[in-house]
């Protein structure tokens, strides 16, 4: 844990400086997690602020120190989930406004942007995004937390409040769905896995 429980208690009592310290301690970690979950750099800070905003208004409900980090993770997951749902709705709306030809042109333009080292990283990001775009937000976030953030099943248990076996089943199914998306026509090539 990056902060001690005394600091949290002080923040619970309404001490702004204590809350500031908590934010400063966890800010970078939360920004990183959100960046990987939502993959839109311009919105990362906004979502991170939403996480700390929710933390501020729910801090008085926290009773024990050991649940603080899973709880913060849960707030992060929920904020990212809300953002992705809104984003999906916005995208559907935007895409429905475009003609088929415009969509093809936009795709072609996006495909032609990449360059060298950053080009490779960008391609990886795009590949994962396109792959995970084929599954639900819930599957996407669960897989990200386990495989990218490296959280253990025990940690995930505390975040999702379900037992380990149920989590394993959910993870297995999420992987199956991603692999199915990977196996679908053209996706493998688009994902650049054969690199």
């Amino acid at each position: 844990m990056l902060v001690d429980f005394e600091l949290i208690k002080r923040a619970q009592k309404g001490e702004s400086a204590a809350f500031n310290e908590i934010v400063l301690a966890y800010r970078k970690r939360i920004l990183g997690t959100i960046a990987r979950l939502i993959a839109r750099p311009e919105d990362v800070e906004d979502v991170a602020q939403e996480v700390f905003l929710r933390l501020y208004f729910s801090l008085d409900q926290l009773r024990t120190a050991e649940v603080f980090e899973p709880w913060l993770h849960r707030l992060t997951v929920n904020a990212a989930y809300d953002y992705l749902r809104k984003q999906r709705r916005r995208q559907e709306f935007r895409m429905s406004d475009l003609s088929e030809q415009q969509v093809m042109l936009a795709d072609a333009a996006a495909g032609g942007k990449v360059e060298h080292d950053e080009q490779y990283r960008k391609k990886i990001r795009e590949s994962v995004q396109s792959l995970l775009g084929a599954v639900s937000e819930a599957d996407r976030i669960l897989l990200m937390l386990k495989e990218v953030e490296g959280l253990s099943l025990k940690e995930l248990e505390k975040i999702y409040k379900v037992n380990e076996n149920a989590l394993k089943v959910r993870l297995f199914r999420a992987r199956q769905r991603v692999l199915k998306a990977y196996g679908s026509a053209g996706t493998k090539e688009a994902a650049g896995w054969d690199r």
């Binding site: 990183g32 960046a35 800070e45 490779y120 994962v128």
Partner: protein, 114 residues
């Protein structure tokens, strides 16, 4: 088939690991904390005004209940209808329209030849 599946699994793991390295952790901007506190304060002021409105509504509802309670509990001594019994009130309300049926029969016995 299984080896293909295993291969895909391994590739998926590798891709997700590569994704972690490909996503740089963004540095927070200088406005991160001021913006956060601004959002907290605006949410607080919204919550505060909502609470005040809710409190005012509850107070008004309680006051109205008390007024109604007092009004209902005051006995109405000047009203005659409440001092009567049910039967009396019923009798007053239904005055007899056909007195012939109930008035005493008068027999005229002065002229027996008729």
């Amino acid at each position: 088939m299984n080896s293909m599946r295993g291969n895909d699994d391994a590739r998926l793991d590798a891709l997700l690991r590569a994704y972690r390295d490909a996503c740089p952790t963004p540095e927070p901007s200088a406005n991160f904390m001021p913006n956060l506190w601004q959002r907290i304060e605006s949410r607080q002021s919204f919550t505060f005004s909502f609470q005040r409105m809710a409190n005012a509504f509850v107070t008004a509802a309680v006051a109205l209940s008390i007024v109604l309670g007092v009004y209902m509990s005051i006995p109405r001594s000047n009203s005659s209808s409440y001092s009567q019994s049910y039967l009396e009130a019923l009798a007053d309300a239904n005055t007899l329209d056909t007195p012939d049926y109930v008035s005493p029969v008068r027999l005229d016995l002065s002229d027996p030849g008729r």
